[in-house]
Amino acid sequence: MAVLHAWRAARVTPLGELHTPPRMTAVLVRLAVQVVLVASLWHGLYSHTSTTAGLDEGQAVTYAVLAVLASRLRELDQYAGRDTVLQHMHFGTIVYWYLRPLPPQRYYALRALGEQLYGLAWALGGFAVCLAAGVVEPPRSAAVAGVFAVSLLLGQWVLYYVMLVLDQMCFFTIRNNSAMLILIFVQNLLSGVYAPLWYFPDWFITLSGFLPFQATLSVPLSIYVGRIQLADAGVQLAVQAAWVVVLALFTRWVWRQAARRVISQGG
């Protein structure tokens, strides 16, 4: 029953952002600068070639700009809001997560959902502006747009679990700063935020195939720009769904272990 009203806990982070206009201005400026720089960089890289790694200039710029916009989906400043799991463990306020009729795992999921929807609004706004300005190409067909949307949804779901695993680490290690720094780099590299995975050597692409990161962003963006054809998209969607299932089971098990640790480290 609790979930009937408790879903409104999803508004926690967006509300915090809306109450902090300077943070929103900073995001706007950063996104604008990043998009301009990334688009310029990729235009420059393609000035002496037409196709590289199976991508032409339009595809590469579209991929890179969409990656910048999509990275905004889960990149809120929770640290400033003292609302990271790390901080709750540090300040001992994590106990309140266990004192409410809404289980901590459900609260975490609702909060993340709110964040991702809020981030999606930013990403869609940025996409609309970039599309209107001709910085990115539109999807090649309605079918591509539809499959991309499904893949992006699955990718965000995978990303949610990857972030959750990191946060769950705090229950066992107290701090996750180093892991977070490593993950941000690995996530950005292996998901294709820094550069499309198609530019990397074969062994690297093979290796990343065994990890969940490319499922978060590289797959949906590759579908969007046409680097993964619709005929091959089914397999990719299945892999993404498999990661969702595996990570869901794993994180569920970790939540149970974490509940036993909350006192000794958070109490």
């Binding site: 509300l15 106990v95 004192l99 009729p101």
Partner: protein, 331 residues
């Protein structure tokens, strides 16, 4: 709903790894960790009746917070059992959560970036409190805690006193019959402390909430608590009224009487010794473990002798508790 708390033989043991000193010791600890058991709470039994305010006292590290965490369902006991409002907290966490409110010292459950009222609204949704009920309760709390003067301020900008008042309100917004307060007034100024005490008194007397309070502030205990449970090293040392504690550990009173007749024979009374005499001025003090309280002694002296003046000196609760803690250490 009955807000009773029943605790029976409650124990909790933590197992921790001991790091050996020095570089070599640290390496050895990595390879061959030494595990030790720490008995945070041992075989504690007590009850709290519905509508009663009980002060759970003890020095730092005595096991107070661990006890509260078991009663709130955060922690599972190693042995023993407890029921809060009829629910075994660690077995039915969600059901228990609806019956209890909690404030843990200066740890806030409010959202740092949100105005206080937004935090209240999120808690209202989480606890599924109807909007009209929520508004009425907020109005009631505002009358007692003066919340409206700052509830549109973001939590990060609140003073400590404002934040603790907000946290108290947040803990009670869902109308729980049982409230756990772990050092709620720590670090607050006297004015806010008094406001919080009034609020708690109101909640106990007018709303019949059961309150379990831990504090090191003896003024707070004196003003609020009907009963006290004293624990040390995880064991229950005493369960009784403040008078019981005074009787056991605070026998440092003196009754100074001026007799109407300076030649009256003064003899020791049951449990009351004559400490000094100077003409008509006599100083009585406690004698032995069965000494009466200062008020009983005063009554006895006045009944037994004709006096023209009388004064009492009594150890305050701080002194009494210090004696109790020292006694508990020695046991």
């Amino acid at each position: 709903m009955s807000g009773s708390i029943e605790v029976r033989g409650l124990s909790r043991t933590f197992h921790t790894t001991v790091r050996r000193p020095g570089f070599t010791g640290t390496l050895r600890s990595l390879v061959d960790p030494e595990r030790v058991a720490k008995h945070a709470v041992q075989d504690i039994t007590f009850d709290v009746a519905p509508g009663e305010l009980l002060a759970l006292l003890g020095p730092n590290g005595a096991g107070k917070s661990t006890t509260i965490k078991m009663l709130t369902g955060i922690l599972t006991p190693t042995s023993g059992e407890c029921r809060v409002a009829g629910v075994v907290p660690y077995q039915e966490r969600e059901r228990n959560a609806r019956n209890i409110g909690a404030v843990f010292g200066q740890r806030t459950q409010l959202w740092w970036d949100l105005p206080v009222r937004e935090s209240f609204a999120i808690l209202r949704d989480i606890y599924e409190v109807p909007k009209a009920e929520h508004a009425a309760r907020l109005e009631e709390f505002d009358d007692l805690l003066d919340l409206s003067s700052f509830w549109d301020t973001r939590v990060r900008h609140l003073s400590l006193g404002q934040r603790v008042r907000s946290d108290l309100a947040a803990a009670l917004l869902h109308d729980p019959p049982v409230v756990f307060l772990d050092e709620p007034t720590i670090g607050m100024d006297v004015v806010v402390k008094e406001q919080v005490r009034e609020f708690l008194r109101y909640q106990v007397e007018q709303r019949s909430r059961t309150v379990l309070l831990t504090t090191h502030d003896m003024t707070e205990v004196e003003r609020l608590a009907e009963r006290v449970v004293l624990i040390n090293h995880g064991r229950l040392v005493l369960d009784g009224s403040l008078d019981d504690i005074r009787r056991k550990f605070g026998s440092t009173w003196q009754v100074r009487a001026t007799l109407a007749d300076a030649h009256t024979d003064v003899v020791p009374l049951p449990g009351i010794a004559v400490l000094r005499r100077d003409g008509p001025r006599v100083v009585f003090g406690p004698d032995g473990p069965d000494a009466p309280t200062v008020h009983q002694a005063l009554k006895t002296v006045i009944e037994r002798y004709e006096v023209t003046g009388v004064a009492i000196d009594e150890a305050d609760l701080e002194d009494v508790m210090r004696a109790a803690y020292v006694h508990a250490e020695a046991v």
